[in-house]
Symmetry: C2
Subunit: 217 residues, 2 copies
Amino acid sequence: MLDTEAADAQARTNAAELKSRIGAADPDTLALLFTEARTHYGWRDKPVKREQLKALYDIAKMGPTSMNQQPMRLVFVESQEAKTKLAPALMEPNRPKMMSAPVTAIVAYDSEFYEKMPEVYPLNPNARDMYANNPEMAAANAVRNGTLQGAYFIIAARAIGLDTGPMSGFDNAKVDELFFAGTSHKSNFLCNLGYADESKIFRRMPRLKFEDVATFI
Amino acid sequence: MLDTEAADAQARTNAAELKSRIGAADPDTLALLFTEARTHYGWRDKPVKREQLKALYDIAKMGPTSMNQQPMRLVFVESQEAKTKLAPALMEPNRPKMMSAPVTAIVAYDSEFYEKMPEVYPLNPNARDMYANNPEMAAANAVRNGTLQGAYFIIAARAIGLDTGPMSGFDNAKVDELFFAGTSHKSNFLCNLGYADESKIFRRMPRLKFEDVATFI
């Protein structure tokens, strides 16, 4: 009990210290992560190291999920053999984007993420059963939280200086059959990673205005 | 034609310039956005200005969505009246977290987001019908891309110095009935926003290891 109380106290000190030290992100970093970042379609012949992908994950994993579920699972498609296996599941225009990328992540989620709840959420010993006994709630949570983590993954990749090309133009059922048969994993989206050939990008498409999407009540 | 070619050329120059100017995010910013950031449960009595919420959106809106769909819709619950209306839809332990927050966002998505495709994706005049004629695909896209945008929303809030408390412990159908009846909008999750009372946070729960979630093929 004293150990967990001490851990809570330390967490509170850390959180207060963080906010007093760093008020907000600077405009250059926001440009890198959001405002000037682009989705990329062509790739330079420069490899991505496995250490970079681990560093990326170690940032993304800290993003919040409901009850710390962390349903995201990742398959990094690096080899020519695995890419050739993946290609037929993609819409034709997406195949060269994937084939030319140094690595393509299959961002997936574990529909039985709840089996890890005793490990990731020891605060509530009933957490596993709460989801295991309610398949509809479990499925919604796997998709919601797996997708939140997918977004953290994209932003974290940009944060370590990688260019990203997320894609959902593919046959999810076919990818699941090819890569996840006999498991509880399901594909969500693909994300090409590497160093972009900027000559392949297009002008930006317009964003919806605040007034068009938001209301105050 | 020349105008769009010039726009493409400018976008390519901007993208190349960005990457040569900023290599990666610094550790302090990563701490603010991901590695040291926490989910908050208690709030100080310090208001959030509507201008801050617009600034937040103007960052988050730049995150990528499939074919620029941008299905996320936002309701910012500020008034005591609206909070009292929302409260019964929340699991009991989440009510005081929401009631004490300066503002709670209902992060929602428009299941008929495709009606805006002619505006947001003028490159493909068939984009609207592609989704409108395939309700299953449209629904999956609304959830996936609306949730990606929800994650961008959380990270962008942290980036402008707000503390966040995302929550999914509530009755989505009830929120939809109370706030979105007769519309195509559906609730996804809630996000309290403000300046945290750090004394209310808990020790961090463990994150899954890279080796436990990722494979290379």
